[in-house]
C-alpha cells in the first residue's frame, strides 16, 4: 500500500496563484482544466440540444417560419453537433480524465511531453475561441451540419471557414494528446508493468491514441482543402469545377468514422475498470478485452464507407464496407459479454460509478444492436438519414461514451479533488439521466422506422405517431437535462463539503489508487514506483 500520508502537500497546494495554472505542465492540472473546459462545452452543446427539442415538440414549432428562423434552427443542430463532437466528446475522456489518470496508472510522474500537453490544452482553448467567434462573431449562421458536406458548405454563406479552422486547430490538440499517451504508455510504465499487466483503461487509451494520431491528420487536410475550396476555388470537391463531392465524404469519414471509436474506446476502458472494481473480482477475459480494443482500432479504419451506402459510391464498395462493418461489431460484442461475465460470482455493490456503468451496459447494448440494421445494406436504404440513425448514435455516443464519462467522473472524482460527493444524490441523478435518456431517444427509433428524415425543423402534423414520438422525445430531453444538472451540482457541492476522500475509497487495485487523494506534485512518494501486483487482483 501507499507510503504517502494524508498530510503531504497535494498538487493544488504545491503552487499557488493563477500563473501556476497558466504555466503549469503538471498533467493533473491540465486534466482538471480540460475537464472544466469540456464540461462547459457539454453545457453549451446541451443547451442547443434542448432548443432543438423545444422546436420539435410540436409540428408547428416555436420559431416563426421565416427563412431567418429556419436557418436559426439549422444552425442549432449544426452547432450541437460541432460542439459536442469536437469540443466535448473527443477531449472529454482522453484529454480530461485520461490526462489526470493515465500517468498515475502507469506509475509515472507525468506524461512523456508535459509541455506538449500544455500546448494541446491551449490549442483546445484557441480552437474553442475560434469556434465561439464563428457562433457570435456576426457571420451568418452555420447551417451545414457538423459533416460540412460539399457543395452546400461551399455555397452557403455561413461561418464555414471559421468553424472548419477551429476544427483544424482542435485536431492538432487531439494529435498532441495522442502522441503523448502513446509514448507515455510505451516508455514510462512502472517497472513490473508488462503490456499484459496494464489496466484495461490504458489499453483503451492506447488504442484511442493510435486512432487520434493516424486519423486526425486526414481530417486536417480535408478541412484545409475545404477552406481552399471556398477561398481559392480549387474545385477538387466541387462538381461545378469538375471535382467530386463524394470524394469529400470519403475523406471526411476516413477520419470521422475512426473518430467515433476515439469517442467510445476510452469509455469502454473506464467501464472495464469500474465493473471489475465494484464486483471486487478479476476482470473476465482480460486479453480478449485488451486485444479487442486494438482490433477495433485497426478495423475502424476500414469501415468509413458505411456512411455512404446511398451517397453515390459504387454499390460493390458498399458491399465490402457492409461486411467490414459487421466485423467491427464483433470485438465490441466480446467486450459486452466479458463485462457481464465479470459480474458473475462477483461481490457487487452499487455506488454511483457502478450505477452508471450498469446503465452503460444497458444503453450500449441497445446502441450496438440497433447498429445492425444500419450495417445491413437493404435495411439501411430505409433507415439512412432518418431519426433512426440519430437515435442509434445517441445510444452509442451518449448512452455509451457520455454515460461512461459520468461513470469515470464519479469514479475518479475523489482522486481528483479529494472530496466525496453525496452518494444518494449521485444515484438519483443517475436514475433521472437514465430515464430521461431512454424517453428522449427510444422514441426516435419509431420516428426513423416510419421515415422521419433528419434535420427537419418541422414535420407532418397529420402523422399522429410522429407528433406523439417527437413530444415524448422533447419531454425526455428536458428530464435528461435536469438529471445532468443535478449530477454536476452534486459534484460541485462536494467541493465545499468536509467529506475528505480516502486514498482508495473503492478498494481498487490499480496503481493510481496508491497515490494520495489528491495526489502530490509528482504523483508518487517513491522516486520510481514499482508495480507490485497485476491489476484486478482482489483478495
Amino acid at each position: 500500500m501507499s507510503t504517502t500520508t494524508q498530510n503531504d502537500v497535494n498538487f493544488y497546494q504545491a503552487k499557488k496563484g493563477i500563473m501556476s495554472w497558466v504555466y503549469t505542465i503538471d498533467h493533473k492540472r491540465i486534466g482538471i482544466m480540460y475537464l472544466i473546459a469540456s464540461s462547459l462545452a457539454l453545457f453549451a452543446g446541451g443547451a442547443f440540444a434542448l432548443m432543438i427539442r423545444a422546436q420539435l415538440a410540436t409540428p408547428g414549432g416555436m420559431l416563426p417560419m421565416t427563412p431567418e428562423y429556419k436557418d436559426t434552427y439549422n444552425m442549432w443542430f449544426t452547432l450541437h453537433g460541432v460542439i459536442m463532437v469536437f469540443l466535448f466528446i473527443i477531449p472529454a475522456i482522453p484529454a480530461a480524465l485520461g490526462n489526470f489518470i493515465l500517468p498515475l496508472m502507469v506509475g509515472a510522474k507525468d506524461v512523456a511531453f508535459p509541455k506538449m500537453n500544455l500546448a494541446s490544452f491551449y490549442l483546445y482553448v484557441i480552437g474553442a475561441a475560434i469556434a465561439l467567434y464563428g457562433i457570435v462573431g456576426g457571420e451568418s449562421p452555420l447551417t451545414t451540419g457538423w459533416t460540412f458536406y460539399l457543395p452546400y458548405s461551399k455555397e452557403t454563406a455561413g461561418a464555414v471557414i471559421t468553424m472548419t479552422f477551429a476544427a483544424f486547430v482542435l485536431g492538432f490538440s487531439s494529435i498532441f494528446t495522442g502522441i503523448n499517451f502513446i509514448v507515455t504508455i510505451h516508455k514510462l510504465r512502472a517497472p513490473g508493468m508488462s503490456w499484459y499487466k496494464m489496466p484495461l483503461l490504458l489499453w483503451a487509451l492506447y488504442a484511442t491514441s493510435i486512432l487520434q494520431v493516424l486519423a486526425t491528420p486526414v481530417l486536417g487536410i480535408t478541412l484545409l482543402l475545404l477552406i481552399a475550396e471556398r477561398t481559392l476555388q480549387v474545385g477538387i470537391f466541387d462538381p461545378a469545377l469538375g471535382g467530386d463531392p463524394v470524394l469529400f465524404q470519403h475523406f471526411f469519414w476516413f477520419y470521422s468514422h475512426p473518430a467515433v471509436y476515439i469517442m467510445i474506446l476510452p469509455g469502454m476502458g473506464i467501464i472495464s475498470e469500474v465493473i471489475s472494481c465494484f464486483s471486487r473480482k478479476v476482470i473476465f477475459g482480460y486479453k480478449a478485452i485488451a486485444n479487442s480494443s486494438i482490433a477495433i482500432a485497426v478495423i475502424s479504419f476500414l469501415v468509413w464507407g458505411h456512411h455512404m451506402f446511398l451517397s453515390g459510391q459504387s454499390v460493390y464498395a458498399g458491399l465490402v464496407f457492409s461486411f467490414l462493418t459487421f466485423l467491427v461489431a464483433i470485438p465490441s460484442a466480446i467486450k459486452v459479454f466479458n463485462w457481464v461475465a465479470t459480474l458473475h460470482r462477483g461481490s457487487i455493490t452499487f455506488e454511483t460509478p457502478m450505477c452508471y456503468a450498469l446503465s452503460f451496459l444497458f444503453l450500449f447494448t441497445i446502441g450496438g444492436l440497433t447498429g445492425l440494421p444500419l450495417a445491413t445494406l437493404s435495411t439501411d436504404i430505409v433507415l439512412h438519414d432518418t431519426y433512426y440513425v440519430v437515435a442509434h448514435f445517441h445510444y452509442v455516443m451518449f448512452g455509451g461514451t457520455v454515460i461512461a464519462f459520468f461513470s469515470g467522473l464519479h469514479f475518479y472524482w475523489p482522486k481528483m479533488v479529494g472530496k466525496m460527493y453525496n452518494e444518494t444524490v449521485g444515484k438519483i441523478a443517475c436514475i433521472i439521466v437514465f430515464i430521461g435518456f431512454n424517453v428522449t431517444f427510444f422514441s426516435q427509433f419509431f420516428l426513423g422506422y416510419t421515415g422521419m428524415p433528419r434535420r427537419y425543423f418541422t414535420y407532418d402534423s397529420s402523422n399522429e405517431l410522429w407528433s406523439q414520438m417527437h413530444g415524448f422525445s422533447s419531454i425526455g430531453a428536458f428530464i435528461l437535462g435536469f438529471g445532468v444538472l443535478i449530477l454536476f451540482a452534486n459534484l460541485i457541492a462536494s467541493l465545499f463539503s468536509d467529506r475528505k476522500a480516502p486514498n482508495n475509497p473503492w478498494g481498487a487495485t490499480t496503481m493510481d489508487w496508491e497515490t494520495q487523494s489528491p495526489p502530490v506534485l509528482e504523483n508518487f512518494s517513491e522516486d520510481v514506483p514499482v508495480m507490485k501486483k497485476a491489476p484486478y487482483e482482489y483478495e
Binding site: 487536410i221 481559392l232 477538387i236
Partner: protein
C-alpha cells in the same frame, strides 16, 4: 578537426524531471517524433489520394498539366533537397562527435539549401502565375490545355504549397538548433533536438521525392 572536447564549454543539462534517465528520455522523444512524422504522412496522404483518384479519372489531363511544369527546375530542387538531407545527417554525426564548428557549418549549409529550394520554387510559381495558371476557378491559361486542367493545378498548388510550408517550418527548426548548437548546448550525450529536427527534415525531403515524379514526370 581535433576531436578533443573541452566539456566545460558545454552547458550541463539534466534529464527532465519525469524521466528516470537520459536514454529513456531520448527514446521517448524519438518515438514521439516518429509518431508526429506519421501524422505528417497521413496529412500528405490525403493529397496523394486526391492525386491518385483524379489521375485515374483524367490521365490525359494530368499528362497535359505535367507538360507545363519545368522538370529541370523540379530536378534541380530534388538535388538541392537530397544534398541538404545529406548535410543534415552529417551535421548530426558531427554533433555526436562534439565537433561544434563543423556541425554549425553543415547546419547553416542545410538552411542555405532549403532557401535555394524556396527560391527555385518562387520562380516556378511566378512563371505559372504569369501564364495565368492558377488553381481551380482562377485558372486563366490561354494556350493548349484540357478542359479540366485546373484540377491538376489545384492539386499541384495544394501539394507543393503544403510542402513549401513544411520546408519553411523545417528551416526555422534548423535555425533554432543551429543557434543552440552555437551556444554549445549539444554534445555526445545530449543531441536530441538536432536528431529530431533532422528526422523532420528528412521527411520534408522524402515527401518532395514523392511529389517530384508524381507531378513533373507523369509521362
Amino acid at each position: 578537426m581535433s576531436s578533443k572536447v573541452d566539456t566545460n564549454k558545454f552547458i550541463p543539462r539534466f534529464v527532465s524531471h519525469h524521466f528516470s534517465n537520459a536514454d529513456q528520455e531520448f527514446e521517448s522523444c524519438k518515438l514521439g517524433m516518429w509518431l508526429f512524422l506519421l501524422t505528417e504522412f497521413m496529412l500528405f496522404g490525403g493529397i496523394f489520394v486526391a492525386y491518385v483518384v483524379f489521375r485515374t479519372w483524367y490521365p490525359e489531363t494530368f499528362e497535359s498539366g505535367a507538360e507545363k511544369l519545368d522538370w529541370k527546375m523540379g530536378a534541380v530542387n530534388t538535388v538541392i533537397l537530397i544534398t541538404s538531407s545529406v548535410t543534415m545527417a552529417v551535421a548530426i554525426r558531427e554533433v555526436q562527435l562534439n565537433r561544434k564548428g563543423r556541425a554549425l557549418a553543415l547546419l547553416l549549409f542545410t538552411v542555405l539549401c532549403g532557401m535555394g529550394f524556396l527560391v527555385v520554387k518562387y520562380f516556378e510559381y511566378n512563371h505559372k502565375f504569369e501564364l495565368g495558371i492558377f488553381p481551380g476557378d482562377f485558372f486563366s491559361f490561354m494556350g493548349d490545355h484540357m478542359s479540366n486542367e485546373h484540377l491538376y493545378f489545384s492539386i499541384y498548388f495544394m501539394a507543393t504549397a503544403t510542402h513549401v510550408l513544411h520546408v519553411i517550418l523545417g528551416l526555422l527548426a534548423i535555425l533554432w538548433v543551429s543557434w543552440r548548437t552555437a551556444k554549445g548546448e549539444f554534445y555526445e550525450a545530449y543531441y536530441t533536438p538536432v536528431e529530431m529536427v533532422g528526422l523532420y527534415w528528412h521527411l520534408v525531403d522524402l515527401i518532395w521525392i514523392f511529389l517530384f515524379p508524381l507531378l513533373y514526370l507523369t509521362k
